[in-house]
């Protein structure tokens, strides 16, 4: 035990060769990829890639089935489990007349809320959608200017807000919404639309300005 404590203290103070190698590998764990007309850093971590591919495949199914309303990326502290950032993306059905080929029309036009459905959005080209996504990406990249620095070790999780009657695979379980308890600030991001779906972005973060 004593040895472990000493080791921990030593690790806190200095960076060993292994630690340095790990840091450098983590730095190169991302690669640059040109997407939406932008150079984006994409992770090369296999575990993260596998995790995200599982989520995205299921997300595709839910979107097609019109059973998802929000997708949330939660960044929380490893030590305290406190939610520090919450990136939520509302997926709204803009044009309810578009139906899935496999799905009957009667079940497709169900709105996600009880509010009156908005008028159908104008048709958009793929280029316009790509430009809007690029604008969202730019805004996300620029959000480092107002988001607080994350000084502690953090982890992340992805939450999906689905309809009650959505088909849920076995590997998905119910979760706490992971709200930011106090000092929450919200910033709306840009949105993009495919003329069928509209995705509104919002980032909520724990404001730490008063503690300084």
């Amino acid at each position: 035990m004593l040895q472990q404590q000493q080791l921990l203290q030593r690790e806190e103070k200095t960076i060993t060769l292994k630690g340095s190698a790990r840091i450098v590998v983590e730095f190169f764990n991302f690669h640059m990829e040109k997407k939406y007309g932008l150079n984006l850093l994409v992770t090369s971590h296999e575990g993260v890639q596998a995790y995200l591919s599982t989520i995205l495949s299921q997300l595709d199914k839910w979107i097609v089935a019109k059973k998802i309303s929000t997708l949330v990326l939660v960044i929380s502290s490893k030590n305290t489990r406190e939610v520090l950032e919450r990136w939520s993306f509302d997926v709204q059905l803009e044009n309810s007349s578009v139906t899935n080929e496999k799905e009957p029309t009667t079940t497709a036009a169900k709105p996600t809320s009880s509010l009156p459905s908005p008028p159908p959005a104008p048709s958009r080209t793929e280029k316009q959608t790509t430009q809007e996504i690029a604008a969202v990406m730019r805004q996300i990249t620029a959000s480092v200017t107002f988001l607080p620095m994350l000084d502690e070790p953090c982890t992340f999780n992805v939450l999906a807000y689905t309809e009650k009657d959505a088909v849920v695979p076995a590997e998905w379980i119910d979760s706490d919404p992971r709200l930011i308890e106090r000092n929450a600030e919200q910033v709306k991001l840009r949105s993009f639309s495919t003329s069928v779906h509209r995705v509104d972005g919002l980032v909520a973060y724990k404001y730490v300005g008063d503690q300084l």
Binding site: I55, S88, S114, K164, D174, Q186, A204
Partner: protein, 788 residues
């Protein structure tokens, strides 16, 4: 200036006397003649002024003693003495006769007839003699006195001459001075005249300059107009020239094409004509042969054949003539085409000429621009001169070019200083104007801001009123919600007693749905009220008098109260919508309709599981260590023999070991994938090298490099055991450790010999492996039979 001759008489001694000598009587002529003789025999020169008879003094009129100015001498005898002496002489003459040799006595002797011999006894004669002697003595005295007087006169005359000379000098000087004065007066007059002339000239020049300025202005305007016209004309000419040039180029192109076509046609026709000539020659030959044949046939009476041949001959001749005519036409056409080509050349020259004209026009345009600039400069210089002349009208000191240049330089300096000052003043004025404009804009902006602020204040006052109403409504709503909560509690209590939780949830969901419907209704009503409000505000502002077609203006007197209530409700609903949006942003959801899902195996839970496992293990280790410490004997009793590592520590280490093993597995997996990728890349690289360089490269385990040519698999070099030709290709092995090159394989023959020859020639002799390999490749490509 004429001399005043009257003044000179003032200086003459005789004329200065107030009384002239009395004129002599006729009886005194001898004395006068004597005096004249004495005067004539005198060695003193006569005064010049006596040469004139008009001014000569007359002794006849001046008998008595003359008065001298100074009273120094008595020149003439008195009348009594003179009469006395005359009577004595006459008596002496009478007595002596003509013995006297003197002219006086001779003249008297010549006229007398009596002579007496007793001269010395006569007392009267003696007395006369005595008197003569006295007279002579007196004469001598007189002559002495006369000489003295004459000397004095001479001195006086000399002094008078000197004075006269001095006077002359002074007069000359006076004359010079007078002349100088006159010259100066004349010069002053001339200068004044010149000044007047200069002033007149200045005024005239000024007028001329103004006229010139006006003329130049007019000319400038005319030149500008002319320049603009010329520019327009030049532009139009240029455009016209460009158009003409394009047209001519097009015509030229078309003519070139036509010329080329005509030339081709001419060539064709020439060739055809040549062929026709040849044919004509052949036909003529045939004709001659036919004529010979005719002759023969005539002999043989084959007339029919002759007629046929004649007809054919005629046809051929006609054809030949037609061809010749066509050829002439073609020649004419060719000449026309040549003339057209010449015209084309002329057009080309004209085109170049036009291009040169365009260039000259551009140059003239540049020159016109330069002239315009010069005109501007001259105009500025003229203005400077005009300003200088107008400023220096009263300057008299400008009488030379130097002074004028100096004045001009001073004026330019002053002008520069004034320009500088005016520039500063202008800059400051502009700055002030800009500042004034800016201040005005700021004033306007501030007034607009004040108006906006006033408007906002009014709006805020209205909003305050609305907020007050909404607050009151919110209080009512709070009371309403409290009542509703109480009813919910009662419902919960009642439902908890006799119904299931599912039914309770369903009821809550229904209630939420009802409330959402109510929110929708509120929003619709709010929208309608907002429309009404907008309409009322428009009517209040007087913007629109006519009511919309689909809405009637409100007539209900309770409408303001309703409106206020609706506004308050709207505000509360807005705030509620805002709160709901905030809640949605926070991530709140309706559990009745939505679920929040996550992957069971996510980074957070994995991290949590690791942490929890570590925590559990540490807690267990801690508990075990505590128990061990509590149950442990003292060091004295235990002796230190049964010290053991707790099981939980072992488990922690095992956990770390498993974690590290997992990492090792991941790393190994990654390495395997990398190796696969590398192998693929290496294979691709080898294939590329093989296809490009023609050699397969294999690095063997012992460090040697084996090179196999791409022709090794060629059927020509395939090993044929039965054939015995031995044409298989040897492999080249480079031993990097030993630095040697060997040939492996091969079964001798021509190819191997050629390869070995190349090895000796390029590698051994010249040390170039690349050349050796290239040579081997060439040898194999040529089929082994190439030169060694």
């Amino acid at each position: 200036m004429p001399k005043d001759t009257t003044k000179s008489s003032l200086y003459h001694p005789y004329q200065r006397s107030s009384t002239r000598p009395p004129p002599l009587s006729s009886g005194d002529t001898n004395a006068a003649s004597r005096f004249a003789d004495s005067q004539a025999t005198s060695f003193f020169p006569k005064p010049r002024r006596f040469a004139s008879s008009a001014v000569r003094p007359s002794f006849a009129s001046s008998v008595g003693p003359t008065e001298d100015i100074n009273g120094e001498f008595n020149l003439f005898l008195t009348r009594k003495e003179l009469l006395k002496s005359v009577s004595g002489k006459e008596r002496l003459r009478q007595s002596i006769g003509s013995n006297d040799s003197s002219p006086l006595f001779r003249s008297t002797n010549s006229s007398g007839t009596n002579a007496s011999l007793d001269l010395y006894s006569d007392p009267e004669l003696i007395k006369a003699r005595k008197e003569i002697r006295d007279l002579k003595e007196s004469r001598r005295k007189i002559s002495d006195e006369k000489a003295g007087l004459e000397r004095k006169v001479h001195d006086l005359e000399k002094s008078a001459a000197e004075k006269e000379d001095r006077i002359k000098e002074r007069m000359a000087r006076i004359d010079i001075l007078e002349a100088d004065r006159e010259f100066l007066l004349k010069h002053v007059t001339e200068v004044e005249q010149r000044l007047e002339d200069a002033e007149k000239n200045m005024i005239k020049w000024k007028k001329d300059a103004e006229m010139t300025e006006n003329t130049l202005k007019r000319q400038n305007g005319q030149l500008r107009e002319q320049l603009a016209q010329e520019r327009e004309q030049a532009d139009s000419e240029l455009r016209h020239g460009d158009l003409e040039k394009e047209q001519m180029e097009a015509d030229l192109e078309r003519l070139y094409q036509q010329v080329a076509e005509n030339q081709n046609e001419f060539k064709k026709h020439s060739a055809q004509a040549k062929a026709n000539r040849e044919q004509q020659g052949v036909l003529e030959r045939q004709l001659r042969e036919a004529q010979a044949t005719i002759m023969n046939l005539q002999a043989n009476d084959a007339l029919t054949e002759l007629i046929t041949l004649k007809r054919g001959l005629i046809e051929q001749t006609t054809h030949l003539r037609t061809m010749e005519k066509k050829m002439r036409d073609l020649e004419v056409q060719n000449s026309n085409l040549l003339s057209t080509q010449q015209n084309t050349e002329l057009l080309k020259d004209e085109n170049e000429h036009l291009a040169a004209q365009v260039a000259r026009l551009a140059e003239s345009r540049d020159a016109a621009d330069k002239l315009a600039v010069e005109i501007e400069q001259l105009k500025a210089e003229k203005q400077e001169w005009a300003r200088f002349l107008s400023e220096n009208d009263d300057v008299v000191g400008v009488d030379s070019p130097h002074a004028l240049a100096q004045a001009l330089a001073n004026a330019r300096l002053e002008l520069a200083a004034l320009k500088e000052a005016s520039g500063e003043d202008r800059a400051s004025a502009k700055w002030r104007a800009a500042e004034l404009e800016r201040l005005r804009e700021q004033l306007k902006e501030r007034e607009a801001r004040i108006a906006d602020a006033e408007r906002r204040r009014e709006l805020e006052a209205r909003a305050c009123k609305r907020l007050e109403h909404s607050r009151q409504l919110a209080q009512k709503e709070i009371e309403f919600l409290r009542e509703q909560l109480r009813s919910y509690d009662i419902e919960d209590a009642s439902n908890a007693a006799d119904s299931t939780a599912v039914a309770h949830d369903a009821l809550k969901a229904d209630r939420i749905r009802v409330l959402e419907g109510a929110v929708d209704e509120y929003r619709a009503a709010l929208r309608a009220l907002e429309d009404q409000l907008a309409y009322i505000e428009k009517n209040k502002n007087g913007g629109i008098q006519a009511a919309p077609a689909h809405q009637e203006p409100p007539q209900d007197p309770q409408l303001p109260a309703l409106l206020a209530a609706a506004r308050a409700e709207c505000e509360s609903l807005h705030s509620r919508v805002h709160e709901l949006e905030r809640a949605l942003g926070r991530g709140e959801h309706n559990p009745a309709t939505h679920r929040v899902l996550q992957l069971a195996k996510n980074p957070e839970t994995m991290e949590l599981a690791v942490r929890q496992a570590t925590l559990d293990a540490l807690q267990a280790e801690n508990a075990q260590l505590r128990a061990q410490c509590a149950n442990a004997p003292t060091p004295a009793t235990s002796g230190g023999g049964d010290r053991a590592v707790p099981v939980e520590s072992l488990r922690v280490v095992e956990l770390e070991c498993s974690k590290l093993k997992q990492e090792i597995q991941d790393t190994k997996k990654r390495n395997d994938r990398l190796q696969q990728v590398y192998q693929t890349q290496v294979q691709e690289y080898r294939e590329a090298v093989y296809s490009l360089l023609g050699y397969k490269l294999v690095i063997e385990s012992d460090g040697r490099v084996r090179l196999t040519s791409c022709f090794a698999d060629d059927p020509r070099y395939r090993y044929q055991p039965g054939g015995g030709t031995g044409t298989s290709v040897p492999a080249v092995v480079f031993d990097s450790a030993g630095g040697t090159v060997t040939l492996a394989g091969g079964s001798g023959g021509q190819v191997e010999a050629a390869v070995r020859n190349a090895l000796r020639q390029y590698l051994d002799a010249r040390g170039c492996a690349a050349a050796f390999l290239a040579k081997v490749t060439l040898v194999l490509f040529e089929g082994g039979g190439g030169s060694s």
